[in-house]
Structures are given as structure tokens and as C-alpha cells.
């Protein structure tokens, strides 16, 4: 009787599993397609890019786009500037948003509603509306044409959303876990360090990634605030491949963009292992 019931389930699984893998593979290709397209474009010659028969696969391997991109766009120096700005912004945003998110999620005060309202409100204003006042303020404190000025702007820009994200993660940590720690004699600091912080790791990874990538890719503030060519970040140097009236050096732009995505990918690879879920499932059952 049991065997008769199990057999159809196994058969169904044997049939559905390849389909699942196929669906997964299609999804991975869908997600990775922009990167593959970039790779394919970066090794094509201008002739192939303008040919009506231009297919997805390159007919020749033109590595000249990479050497031209590196020499023309000052990519190495720009990548260094972008890395400095993005990492420092990520560290500062994380250091500020972690205790702030904890306070917002745990402490029941009147300030909580006001602070939450401020966070949401701050997301409403578009770049163009705040850029001139911001520019004037930064000019007065001598942070125009200064990478730290850019860090400050990105911190202010990313903080509300990072705070909002992290607040959700903190709220998801059952307060009973902290109470259990306290009953066992742990100090408040010990509870935070040994119980809350490890459980917040996925949240910290997610907010760090968000902050890093948004700082890494940001263009407009950098365009307005940075004037010295030696301080240019990657998005600014990449813009040099685009000319007036839709002219674009597509091969070189793709090569430069591909190189520019590598640090983001490495950063993601380094911290993605912490991006796990289900750490707290069953923690307060029973």
C-alpha cells in the first residue's frame, strides 16, 4: 500500500526536478545577461558593432577596447577613488545605522514616530531639488572637490534607507531572546554583542551592499562636486565614452564598465556568505 503511494511521488519528482533546474538556469541566464552582453560588446570591433549582422557572439577577440579604456579613462585611479568613497561611506553608514536602528525598533518613545516620519520624508526629495543647497553648504565648509565631501553626501543620502532596512531586521529579532540572555545573567552589552549582533549579520550585509553599490554607482553628486580629474570616481570617467547627439564609443565603454563592475562583484562575493536567512526560525517556539 505504502509502496503504491510513494511511487507516483517519486515519478513526479523525477519529472519535475529537471524542469526546476531548467527554470533555475533560465533565471540565472536572465539575471546574468547584462553582464554577458557587456562582455560580448567589450571584445567587438567598431565595425562589428555597427554591422547589421551584429549578433550576440563576437566574431573576433578585440582586446584593444580594454587597453584603450584603461589608458583613456584613467580607470585605475578612478577605481581607487570610488573604492575609498564607497568603503568609507559603507563603514560610516553601518556604524550610525546599527545603534539607531536598534533604538528605533526597541525603544517605545514619541521620538520613534517622528524619526520614522523623517526617514520616509527624506526619501521623497529628488536629487535635483537638494543639490544646489547642498552644494552651497559643502562649499562653505570646504568640501567641494574633496572625496570626503562626497562620502558625507553619500552617507546622508544612504542613511535613511539603510536605517529603514536595518530597523526591520532588528524588529524581527525576538525580544524574548534578549530577555533570556538577561535572565542568564548577561549584561546589556553582552546581550547585544553575543545575541543580537550575530543575528543581525544578514541585515548588516544587505544594508552594506545597498550602501556600497549605491555609492559606487552614483554619478550626479560626483559630477557636481568633483572638479579635479585626479579625484574623479568611476561613473564620471565612464561618462567620457559618451559624446553629443547619441555618439558613443560602445566597445570601450563596455570594456570600462565591465572592469568597473569587478570590485562590486568581489565585495559581494566576500560578504554574500553571511546573507543567510532562517537563523531565528524556531528560536522562541513552545
Amino acid at each position: 500500500m505504502n509502496k503504491q503511494k510513494v511511487a507516483p511521488v517519486r515519478q513526479a519528482r523525477a519529472f519535475s526536478r529537471p524542469l526546476q533546474y531548467l527554470g533555475l538556469a533560465a533565471y540565472v541566464v536572465f539575471l546574468g545577461f547584462p553582464l554577458l552582453f557587456l562582455l560580448s560588446t567589450s571584445v567587438k570591433t567598431p565595425q562589428q558593432l555597427q554591422s547589421p549582422e551584429n549578433g550576440f557572439f563576437p566574431t573576433s577577440l578585440n582586446l584593444g577596447n580594454f587597453s584603450a579604456a584603461i589608458s583613456k579613462a584613467n580607470l585605475v585611479e578612478a577605481a581607487g577613488n570610488s573604492l575609498y568613497v564607497a568603503l568609507l561611506t559603507t563603514v560610516i553608514v553601518t556604524l550610525i545605522s546599527l545603534p539607531a536602528a536598534y533604538a528605533l525598533a526597541r525603544f517605545q518613545t514619541k521620538l520613534r514616530g517622528i524619526a520614522t516620519g523623517w526617514i520616509l520624508l527624506s526619501q521623497v526629495f529628488p536629487f535635483i531639488l537638494i543639490v544646489i543647497p547642498l552644494f552651497l553648504v559643502l562649499k562653505q565648509i570646504g568640501l567641494i572637490n574633496n572625496l570626503f565631501g562626497l562620502v558625507l553626501v553619500y552617507t546622508v543620502w544612504s542613511l535613511p534607507f539603510a536605517l529603514w532596512m536595518l530597523r526591520g531586521y532588528v524588529a524581527a529579532v525576538p525580544v524574548e531572546l534578549e530577555e533570556a540572555g538577561a535572565i542568564d545573567g548577561a549584561t546589556k552589552l553582552r546581550v547585544l554583542r553575543s545575541i543580537v549582533l550575530p543575528l543581525l549579520a544578514p541585515g548588516l550585509v544587505a544594508t552594506s551592499l545597498f550602501t556600497f553599490i549605491s555609492s559606487w554607482n552614483e554619478f550626479f553628486f560626483a559630477l557636481v562636486l568633483i572638479k579635479d580629474p585626479n579625484l574623479e570616481t568611476l561613473p564620471l570617467t565612464l561618462a567620457r565614452f559618451v559624446g553629443a547627439e547619441g555618439q558613443v564609443q560602445l566597445g570601450q565603454l563596455a570594456a570600462a564598465s565591465l572592469l568597473a563592475t569587478i570590485p562590486s562583484l568581489v565585495f559581494f562575493l566576500l560578504i554574500q556568505r553571511r546573507l543567510t536567512s532562517g537563523l531565528m526560525s524556531g528560536a522562541v517556539k513552545g
Binding site: P46, Q47, L49, Q50, S51, P52, E53, N54, K72, I128, V131, I132, F135, L136, V137, K139, Q140, I141, I144, F220, L223, V224, K227, D228, P229, A239, R240, V242, G243, A244, E245, G246, Q247, V248
Partner: protein, 429 residues
Amino acid sequence: MKRKALLGIGAAAALLLSGCALNGEQADTGGSTDGPVTLTFQSLAYQDSTVAATKEIVDAWNSDNPDIQIKLTQGTWDNVHDQLVTQFQGGTAPDIIHDESSDIMGFAAQGYLADIGKHLSTETKDAVSEDVWKTVTTKDGKIVAAPTLLQTYVVFANTDAFAAAGVDVPKGDQLSWDDLRTAAKGLTKDGKFGVGWGLKQPTAAIMNTALGYDGSFFDIGDGGKDTIHVGDNEVAVPEHIHAMAFEDKSMDPVSLTQSGTDVLPGFLGGKYAMYVGGNFLAQQITESAPDTFKWTVLPPLAGSAGPVQAANPQTMSVSAQSKAPEQAAKFIDYFMNAENQAKLAQGDWLIPASKPARDAVAEQTKDTPVWAPILKSGEDLAGAPFQQAANYPQWKDQYATPALQKYFANSISLADLKKQLTDGWNSLG
């Protein structure tokens, strides 16, 4: 705790207010200075050869002029407007600004650009036609830029396609629209079109080429209201395009919905025997065409008023906030000399506004025949009223572009087009 918080807020507000006050004081820094100065120059040069030529010019100037040093920075065409808006507001705009006349005249009207007319040499002034100077002169007579390089709309032709169809490649001083239509009909066969024209954003092309039929569109009021008139002259070019696409079927209607660079592969691949676009696209054709591809540029397109197009030159201006406008203008004078302009023009395949520079390019490119018609097309450029119509940018985006797009999609009539262009302008008040 509350007291500390209030103090903090108060201090921040004071800092901001003092910042605004200080900024107001610092903004007023016009006038000339004596002694050595370092001036910033933001160039928008794009092609590799033009970037290199610009650097060479700056280096040569710096070694000959130790008292006026130029610091070169690189900007981009796509974002220069937003960047300048912010920098003018903040008082940090470059001393010397590279842009184009259609963009800077708005800044000039707001007082952000210095009058450099009094500092430019007679040689520079005489080198450029009166019509082109008008495009950089404000209503009250201030010259706010030196015009450098120009673009025109030209017809590129695949000479092998002409030979295969047994159609003669047009020659002479100009090419009438009727002759273009006749040639296009002869070249349309076997699924191939005579002409491809990327007119996704059609307004600029139409406004520029309408001058060939005396299509002026606007009457500029002296300090009063600018008025529009859309008559037969104004819509002569759209009518030709529409007829070629939907009556003669010699122009690909799909190309009318694409950008110029989107249509280029069709020209290089033989789908279109002719391709209409900005003359700067010659650079891209040179770089991207297969070795076997034979092409030329046809004589300038002419309407009943001749081969006239509107001039929208690239410009070199001086910020009104610059501490050394006179010295900045001296550098612009040097930048404008024939040798320098010829070098820059060839890198970008653009036409120098300066006659001596055009002559120099003609001499230096006599072995490249496509340059001759390109340079020829630059001789009849004129200022157009739309460049001075205050509401033109808004009218262009909100009314003219959608109306022309609908007309080129064959979804409205010519009468509808005229009405929509006129009513749109009048609704702006």
C-alpha cells in the same frame, strides 16, 4: 539633554545662515586682476584626437604664457547643462566654459557669462561671419562667447549603391530637395530604401533645415512677446520627408522613429543608399565602415532660399564670476586661431566657424574628398529666430516634438501639424 539638542540645532542653523551670507559676499568677484593667474578650462572634447589636440593647445599656451596658466578639466556633453546650473549657483563654475550657443544663451540672460566682445581681437572677430556672431550675442548686444565649431545636416551616400542602381551621384554646389527625392526613388528597390533618416527627435533637424525655405517659425518681439507663424515655408521640409516616406516610399518610415546612430548600421549594411545626419557622423562612418564600403557626402541640401541651415556653434565663454575675464578672453583668442581650430575640427569632423580655419582644413584635407561638401555646407549657416525665442525649449519638448513624431508616423495631417505647433506655442503664453 533637550537643551543640548536645541543648542546643536541652533549651531547648525547658524552655520547654514552664515554660509549663505558668506556666499552672497563671495559671488561678487567679477573684474580683472593683475599678476599671474591660473584659470580653469572645462573642455567637452570627445573624440580621442580632439582631446589630444585640446591638450596640445593648452600645453603650448601654458609654456608661452607663464602669467596666465590654464588648468584643463574634462566635462561631458550629456551633463554639462546641469553641472553648470549648479556651479553658477555655487560660484564655482570654470573660468572658461566650452558649450554650445543654444545652451549658453539662457545662462547669458541670467548674467552668468561675461561680455568678452571687448577683449577679443579684431582678427578673431573678422574670421567669423556676422550671422554666426549673432548666435552668441545677447539682445542687448553683449558677445558672450566665441563660436568655434559647427555642425550641419548632410546627406551621406553609398556610391556603390548608386552605381548598382544606375543613378548618378549628385554633384554641384547644392542639392535640391526635389533632386534628392528623384535620386531616392531611383535607389529604392529590392527591399532597400533610398534614404534612412533617424528623426526620433525631429525638432532640431526641422528647425535647422527650414531656413532653406525661409521657414523662420518665430517673430522675436523687442522685449515683448515672441509670436509663432507656421506657414508653407515652415513645413516644406516635413512635407518632403512625409512624401518620401509615405507617397514615394523611398525613405524608410521605421528610420524616422530611430536615432541617427541607430540608423547608421542600416546605411553601412546597404539597407539605405543615402543617410541624412549631422556631419560629425562622418567620424563614426570612417571608424566603423567595412574596408570595402565606398561613401561620399552629397552637396548641401537646398530649398527655395538656398542651402541655408541654422547655426548652433560650439562656444567658448568666460564665466562672469571669473576673477580674470580679460586673461581668459586672451586664451580664447589664441584657441580661436586658424591652426588650432583646424586641428580641432578635423578630430571631430566638424566645421570651423572661422573662415581662415575652414580654408586651413580645406588645404589639409584636399586628399579626402568628403571634406569639401562638408565645409561647403558650413558657408551658408545663419542665426535662426528659434534660438532667441524664450519659450522654445519648452515648446520643443511639449508640443513640437510630439506633433512632428505623429506627422512622421502618418497619424496626423499637415493641417493638424500646423495647428498643433501653433496652438502649442500660444498655450505657453
